[in-house]
């Protein structure tokens, strides 16, 4: 019974990301226990804020976690990845600033309520998602190729939306989304992330989205034969990712109250895909575990924060990250885990046979001993 429990734990998809987090925690504990210190400070606006490495991980990991939600669905449904996420963040962020600042890049007050700007950004994000989704689901183009279009064109489009100027949002309230709300010492991004996770949890629980997505990802034909429309499911996955992108764009743009089209959310798509992979989800689609992906996102952020904390030279940072990522991905790959599982099974089997052989030997000894006794009697 004990053994089956261990097996249950190790075969759970959450095992690898949790182990990775624990490993990073242990490394940090050994090198500098200060990593776990959380202090209450007062920021320059006079409001209380929590500060510390753990808070930093929670804060900066949020947008990646939100993106991981959408990316998991896209991966599961289409068996491919969306590489235009970073560029779409630039587009959605640019649209948001265009609404907030109007035609004047340096207005004295915002031109529209933040909620309107956010809704416009959501619409733009979902349109971009719909564009990708249509290419993938209707025109059957491979996801990576389909999303390559926006990956290439996205940042110039973002620049074009604001006439290539860099608007700065004057309203301090806009900074709350990527910072702190006065009086609440926990980063707002954490609440936004929790809200997104809650919404997707409810959707997965009360609708057939999860089931349909997995069915389409595992076998499109049999899904169709069972009355599921694979085209729509794939399309929907991309639109949901578009929505996640808009939320991430809100956080990203809010952090510095402006945008730089060329560097905002650069290479974030790779981190989002990595989060899905770290969660042990097959990148070829099919079954998925949303929470493993979300945890995977925090593993990546914990790694980044840890690497920043250590005094690693700029040139070597990418190399360190690559090594850790290779190891993590290697051990979370289903094939490797299967192999390791088999290996342990074999070990167990060997032990058993060894025991059997040992038992057999002793039995033989007993028999031979008896024989000896008999001989002596003779």
């Amino acid at each position: 019974m004990n053994k089956s429990l261990i097996k249950k734990i190790t075969s759970n998809q959450l095992f690898i990301p949790i182990m990775a987090l624990l490993l990073l925690a242990v490394i940090n504990l050994i090198v500098d226990p200060g990593f776990f210190k959380v202090t209450l400070r007062t920021n320059n606006d006079g409001n209380p804020v929590l500060s510390g490495s753990l808070i930093t991980i929670l804060d900066y990991g949020s947008e990646l976690a939100i993106l991981a939600i959408g990316m998991t669905l896209v991966t599961a449904a289409s068996g491919g990845q969306d590489i235009s996420v970073g560029a779409t963040i630039a587009i959605a962020g640019s649209a948001m600033l265009r609404v907030l600042c109007g035609t004047n890049p340096r207005p004295d007050a915002i031109q529209a309520p933040i909620i309107v700007a956010f809704l416009v950004a959501c619409l733009v994000g979902m349109l971009c998602g719909a564009f990708n989704g249509a290419l993938v689901s209707i025109f059957k183009i491979q996801p990576m190729i389909a999303t390559l279009i926006l990956f290439t064109a996205g940042r110039p489009i973002a620049a074009w939306i604001n006439f290539n100027r860099l608007p700065i949002v004057p309203d301090p309230k806009f900074k709350y989304f990527g910072g702190f709300i006065p009086g609440i010492p926990i980063p707002t991004t954490v609440f936004i992330m929790l809200l997104c996770v809650l919404v997707i949890a409810l959707v997965l629980k009360f609708t057939n989205l999860g089931l349909y997505t997995q069915a389409v990802g595992i076998n499109e034909k049999s899904a169709r034969l069972n009355g599921i429309n694979p085209t729509f499911v794939k399309f929907l996955a991309f639109v949901i990712l578009g929505l996640c992108v808009a939320v991430a764009a809100l956080i990203k743009v809010s952090r510095i109250a402006t945008i730089n089209y060329n560097v905002i959310a650069k290479d974030i798509e790779m981190d989002a895909i990595l989060a899905v992979a770290l969660g042990g989800n097959a990148l070829s689609g099919g079954k998925f575990n949303m929470w493993a992906s979300v945890l995977g996102a925090y593993v990546i952020q914990a790694l980044t924060t840890t690497l920043y904390k250590f005094h690693i030279s700029s040139d070597a940072l990418a190399a360190y990250k690559a090594v850790v990522v290779i190891l993590l991905v290697f051990f979370s790959a289903p094939k490797v885990r299967e192999y390791v599982g088999d290996f342990f099974k074999k070990m167990k089997a060997k032990k058993k046979t060894a025991q059997l052989v040992a038992v057999g030997d002793s039995a033989a000894e007993v028999i031979s001993g008896e024989n000896e006794e008999v001989e002596e009697d003779n």
């Binding site: 500098d32 200060g34 990593f35 210190k37 400070r41 007062t42 920021n43 320059n44 606006d45 804020v49 500060s51 510390g52 490495s53 930093t56 900066y60 340096r106 349109l127 719909a130 564009f131 989704g133 249509a134 290419l135 209707i138 064109a153 940042r155 110039p156 620049a159 074009w160 290539n164 860099l166 700065i168 910072g179 702190f180 429309n229 729509f232 399309f235 990203k252 952090r255 510095i256 402006t258 730089n260 089209y261 060329n262 560097v263 905002i264 650069k266 980044t304 924060t305 920043y308 904390k309 005094h311 030279s313 700029s314 040139d315 940072l317």
Partner: protein, 338 residues
């Protein structure tokens, strides 16, 4: 229902395709207009000097936008120029544009090369065709006889000016957070080099953290946050561009650390964006180093010299300022902000 959804999707797709192609069309028509205009006037248009300008994409950065606007303002008919512009961030495309300009028999080819290598043969063609080449903003690895002059920023000097300014502040000790640009870029090497040398030479200069944020504000914010989290002492932030300085300041603000003139932390940036100079004016930052994008007047002077039969200097290094928050004025912001 299905049909409706399909229709909507189709229209969305069509819309986006049209959206894309519209932009393309616009580009092409302007281009063909240009070529048409050029083909109609194969010779010099009564006294106008014909220049072909190849630049990097103005969307690349605020610096490039300012650079492009400056060139466009200078090379007009009123100033005696007949100018055509082409943009690309890719070297091979730029070389193609150069070939086209040579075929169009421009008098001058102005070039800001995307890459340093690969220009020899096309510049030889230009020389054979009697087209004079002037390099601006970036140099190339080619024989100097192939071009008339090159106008460049000296990144090492920019770094040195900034470090000299920092040294002149006479802080009792310098604990510097050094946020670097994309590793290997000319700006990063020049701006890092001066600081590294100073830190190695002086006993009371120490680098608390040296890390690349790849020109990204948010990465800079995280790097500074990591230093704050670790509780290490620092009193200078040396960010190699304005965006990263802004990210760093956001981290300071969140942690309640004061910055600016006469405060706990000295903030330094580069590039002289207008908003950055305004931060200086408000005394939230201490220093901003210029990377001069206004090259048009230099080019104009060279062309005038060449037309008059004079030989200009081969390498011209532009004057670049460093602004101190204690002395900056509103006029500086208006004049030098990009």
């Amino acid at each position: 229902m299905k049909k409706v959804v399909a229709l909507i999707m189709a229209s969305v797709f069509a819309f986006s395709v049209v959206g894309c192609s519209k932009k393309e069309d616009k580009k092409e028509t302007t281009k063909s207009d240009e070529t048409k205009a050029e083909s109609q006037t194969p010779e010099k248009k009564d006294g106008l000097i014909k220049v072909g300008i190849i630049n990097n994409d103005p969307n690349e950065s605020g610096y490039r936008t300012a650079n492009d606007a400056d060139l466009k303002a200078m090379f007009t008919k009123e100033n005696g120029y007949d100018a055509s512009f082409n943009y690309s961030l890719k070297n091979d495309e730029q070389i193609q544009y150069a070939k086209t300009f040579i075929q169009d028999e421009v008098d001058y080819l102005l070039l800001s090369a995307a890459d340093t290598a690969g220009w020899d043969s096309v510049l030889q063609d230009a020389k054979a065709a009697g087209v004079k080449v002037i390099l601006f903003d970036r140099t190339i690895d080619a024989d100097p006889s192939l071009y008339e002059a090159s106008i460049v920023s000296d990144m090492n000097k920019e770094g040195q000016t900034a470090v000299d300014w920092l040294a002149s502040q006479n802080l009792p000790e310098y604990n510097v957070i050094h946020i670097q640009g994309v590793m290997g870029s000319a700006a990063q090497q020049g701006r890092s080099g001066a600081l590294d040398k100073k830190v190695a030479a002086e006993g009371n200069w120490k680098i608390v953290k040296q890390q690349t944020a790849e020109w990204n504000a948010e990465k800079a914010q995280q790097i500074v946050q990591s230093v704050i989290d670790s509780g290490e002492k620092f009193n200078v932030i040396y960010a190699e561009n304005d965006d990263m300085a802004k990210g760093a300041v956001a981290a300071l603000d969140a942690a309640g650390i004061s910055h600016g003139v006469g405060k706990d932390v000295v903030v330094m940036g580069f590039d002289c964006n207008k908003w950055a100079l305004e931060e200086l004016l408000k005394q939230n930052w201490n220093y901003d180093g210029q990377c001069n994008p206004f090259q048009a007047s230099y080019i104009d002077a060279i062309i005038k010299d060449l037309e008059a039969g004079k030989t200009p200097e081969k390498t011209i290094i532009m004057e670049e300022k460093g602004f101190d928050a204690a002395t900056i004025k509103q006029e500086d912001v208006d004049k030098y902000g990009i």
